[in-house]
């Protein structure tokens, strides 16, 4: 998010620089030989091998020709040859990249396999190989650079095309009877055109540099013709006498290459349609946590007794940078208190701010996200200020998280055992053996069979439900006072969901920890929690006891949520009630 914002900010100057730069290069390619052609060819024995002067800013060569004029006049040859090579690579690369998508499987495998093998070889080796065949000449080098670029370009196109072919809209077209060629023309090519243009521009930059390289080696443009690479070759031979004769063409090559690269960047960052509503929390800068209206000298750690709330948030506001700079407030002043051992549920739809509220309660909103509150504490630890070592220990041991996607919430590179034991090893200083013993007990308590063997395994060897249980077990390693469970069962099958919820509830009865349970499913939240908060658009619209939900619900949104979701008792003869304007609500957020 941060890098994207930054890029869109420099987009305008970059776009202008690129346009002007490319215009200069194209202009020089057209008029260069006309204006400076004669001067570039004019030999003068008297002026040979001069250093830079007002008359010859880059000096002269061994025949007394002006190097600057040669650089300017050489633009056309350099650019045309690079474009020729790019055209070869792009044309054949597109064909070879798109062809496999319509070929039968065996041929497709053979072709992509061959491209992959060729890709292992650097372009210069391929170019040298083709150079050896076609000899040291301008056309030979153009063909060599062009052909050497084909595998990379074909591969890019193939990847692009197959990703588009895998989309549902292509399947839909196939179902209605659009043939392979039709799919290619109607769906693949229009969607691939943008990225293709970017790739072609990157490639043109590469071709220009490659061509200069070949000419520099003496394998490209031959005397008396000249391009930038050739001029560089002539220049470096006399670098002691006149460095500018080498630096001059070098600058031309780098500048043109740079403009092309910049152009590809500009193409790549097409403006996005911003769908975010900007409320703009003025005075709240990213990466700044503020405690509005709070005594500056408040101690970081307040001693708490068991009767105090586990978690307290007063006037909690959370903002993130918007798509076009500035910040967008996503949570607008949430009040929340969780008592020891209490199970609090938050229900809301996507974009309601329920997940980031939970992250803020755990003190896990990272810059550029910004948190502001009158008060935000976990068991007396002030989450708005910097954390002391004691506070970190408390948070590390007493606060646990379970996330929605069990595939990504455990580190794929570390064993389950390592991930379970590290918090107590760091914060309690227990020995590795004791931590391991605790981990065995924790895994066993969430019903994972053969825990000793399982500790040595990696997350990918666990099923989705087992990973969620391992996350719960991780929370049981310390002395949990709050488990934040953010849609812990959404990615799971209903029968597995039941087991994970059983484990959560069991963990709660065993340790008397509080649980913050978040879901979009109001029936699930109500069935699992003691108390429910209904969130919508960054605000808590209603708070009620779970067992009084059907009786006490007042807010129209809560009532609508209850009514519009079919359950096992819904009347099948009647249409479902519909929340009038909610359908047009933002999905983008």
């Amino acid at each position: 998010m941060a890098t994207r914002t930054r890029r869109s900010r420099i987009l305008t100057p970059a776009g202008i620089t690129t346009a002007v730069g490319l215009a200069i290069v194209v202009g020089l390619a057209i008029v260069g030989p006309i204006i400076w052609g004669a001067q570039a060819e004019a030999t003068s024995v008297a002026d040979r091998l001069q250093g830079p002067s007002a008359l010859h800013p880059f000096g002269t060569d061994e025949l007394g020709r002006d190097v600057l004029a040669r650089v300017l006049a050489g633009t056309r040859t350099s650019v045309l040859l690079a474009l020729g090579a790019t055209a070869i690579a792009v044309a054949l690369g597109v064909v070879l990249g798109l062809l496999p998508t319509v070929l039968p499987r065996v041929l497709r495998r053979a072709l992509t396999g061959l491209i992959d093998i060729l890709l292992a070889f650097p372009w210069l080796l391929l170019a040298l190989f083709f150079s050896a065949i076609w000899g040291a000449s301008a056309t030979g080098a153009m063909l060599a650079v062009g052909f050497a670029g084909i595998p990379a370009f074909a591969r890019l196109n193939y990847t692009l095309a197959s990703s588009i072919m895998g989309r549902d809209y292509v399947r839909a077209a196939r179902i209605v009877g659009v043939g392979p060629i039709g799919v290619l023309a109607r769906h693949v090519v229009p969607n691939a055109a943008g990225p293709l243009l970017v790739n072609a521009t990157v490639h043109a930059s590469g071709a220009l540099l490659s061509f200069a390289g070949l000419s520099f080696l003496g394998l490209g443009v031959q005397s008396p013709e000249y391009d930038w690479g050739r001029l560089l070759r002539e220049g470096i031979a006399r670098i002691y006498v006149n460095p500018m004769a080498a630096i001059g063409p070098g600058i031309a090559i780098v500048a043109t290459g740079l403009f092309l690269t910049l152009a590809s960047d500009v193409f790549a960052t097409t403006p996005r349609r911003g769908a975010l509503i900007r409320t703009g929390l003025r005075g709240l800068r990213p990466a700044l946590r503020t405690g509005a209206g709070r005594a500056a000298s408040a101690p970081h750690l307040v001693t708490t007794d068991e009767a105090d709330a586990v978690s307290v948030a007063r006037g909690l506001r959370i903002a993130f940078p918007g798509a076009e700079g500035g910040s967008v407030e996503r949570v607008h002043g949430v009040e929340l208190e969780i008592a020891p051992g209490e199970v609090v549920g938050i229900v809301g739809e996507s974009g309601s701010g329920k997940s980031i509220t939970a992250m803020a309660l755990a003190g896990l909103i990272e810059p550029p996200g910004a948190v502001a509150a009158a008060e935000l504490r976990f068991r007396g630890v002030d989450l708005l200020g910097p954390l002391s070592a004691a506070s970190k220990r408390r948070l590390g041991l007493e606060l646990a998280m379970v996330f929605q996607d069990p595939l990504t919430s455990l580190n794929p590179a570390l064993t389950i055992g390592r991930q379970l034991t590290e918090a107590v090893e760091v914060h309690e200083g227990v020995s590795r053996a004791e931590a391991r013993e605790r981990a065995v007990r924790a895994l066993a308590s969430v019903g994972i069979p053969d825990p000793e063997r399982r500790l040595g395994q990696y997350p990918h060897e666990f099923s989705g439900g087992m990973r969620q249980r391992a996350m719960i077990a991780m929370g049981l390693m310390g002395s949990p006072r709050l488990i934040v469970a953010d849609e812990p069962t959404t990615a799971l099958d209903v029968t597995v969901q039941r087991q994970v919820l059983q484990n959560l509830r069991r963990a709660q009865t065993l340790t008397h920890t509080a649980i913050l349970f978040i879901s979009h499913d109001i029936a699930l939240v109500a069935g699992f929690s003691d108390r429910i908060l209904v969130m919508k658009d960054g605000l808590v619209v209603e708070q009620l006891a779970a067992d009084r939900l059907l009786v006490d619900a007042q807010h129209p949104y809560t009532k609508a949520l209850i009514a519009c979701v079919p359950d096992m008792a819904s009347d099948r003869t009647q249409p479902l009630p519909v929340i009038g304007d909610l359908d047009t609500a933002r999905r983008a957020s």
């Binding site: 050896a132 065949i133 076609w134 080696l217 394998l219 794929p412 060897e461």
Partner: protein, 301 residues
């Protein structure tokens, strides 16, 4: 691997046959006497049927016989053995320099971007890195020679054999890939730092060193190594230009001069050696990746 090797052998064998026109005439020039043309043709074995030629070529490969140079009339294999060490030293040292330099740069820039501090500095750093990626190594070499050898006279312009003569070529070859690798490390690290499992790690309030070294680093190693492998093969090829600039007696100068002289047996030999180096490097990278990734190592056995 076996398929790749087969393709390489066929491709190098094919070079001489793909040359437009008569390769022997191309070597000797149009005015060469017919008798000399015929003798050279026989020397190259081109008077025999194609399958026999291919059989002889492959059989020769197995005996380490790569033919005889048309220029020097010495065995190609001898020249290659003599020239290869310089190229290997240059590529190897450059790779080490690039790899050792890239990691801390990538880590430092990523961490400082993420913490949101020093924005201007980040912008400047990423601009420099971007520029270094775009500038091709032969231009960088020219710039380095001009600064260090011509203007400041600190280092020799060219040559081979002394440690001081290694500095500029290595820098010229290493800086671009180093910048590129640093960028990859930077980007990958930012992706990893955004992953949910890092939020899990942060929720345990582990010290920063554990978060970065234990949780983040192993997860970006795979992509960094894959890129590192590509970088290394790119460097092998990059030596061609660098050797030419610094007049280093390696494989690069050999292939350039033999292409200019149309010394086909020599070209075939050098291309074969380069391709072989690339294949071996790829194999090594694949093996390393397999041993460090828990998923692939378990899948294999």
């Amino acid at each position: 691997m076996a398929i790749s090797l087969g393709i390489v052998v066929v491709a190098t064998f094919a070079i001489i046959h793909l040359v437009p026109g008569d390769p022997v005439r191309a070597v000797l020039g149009p005015s060469a006497p017919a008798e000399l043309v015929a003798r050279t043709r026989a020397e190259l074995g081109l008077d025999q049927p194609l399958p026999v030629q291919f059989w002889n070529y492959v059989a020769g490969l197995f005996q380490g016989d790569l033919g005889t140079s048309l220029q020097t009339h010495r065995p190609v294999a001898d020249t290659l053995a003599q020239r290869a060490p310089a190229t290997l030293v240059l590529a190897g040292v450059s790779f080490l320099v690039a790899a050792i330099g890239a990691l801390p740069i990538g880590l430092a820039t990523a961490i400082s971007v993420r913490s949101g501090r020093r924005r201007v500095l980040d912008l400047i750093a990423s601009a420099i890195v971007g520029l270094l990626i775009v500038v091709p190594n032969f231009l960088l070499a020219v710039g380095l020679v001009w600064l260090f050898a011509v203007e400041w006279r600190l280092l020799p312009v060219a040559g081979w054999g002394q440690p001081a003569q290694l500095v500029l070529p290595v820098l010229a070859l290493a800086i671009g890939p180093m910048a590129y690798l640093a960028r990859i490390v930077h980007v990958e690290l930012l992706v990893v730092l955004d992953a949910t499992y890092l939020t899990t790690a942060r929720s345990k309030r582990l010290p920063g060193r554990l978060i970065y070294l234990r949780h983040a680093l192993p997860n970006m190693l795979t992509s960094a190594l894959t890129i590192g492998g590509l970088m290394l093969t790119g460097m092998v090829a990059g030596t061609v230009l660098i050797e030419t600039i610094f007049a280093i007696p390696g494989l690069g100068t050999t292939i350039v001069s033999s292409i200019t002289a149309k010394d086909y047996p020599m070209i075939q030999g050098v291309v074969l050696v380069y391709a072989g180096m690339v294949l071996v490097l790829n194999l090594v990278v694949d093996l390393v990746l397999m041993t460090i990734d828990p998923r692939s190592s378990l899948a294999e056995g």
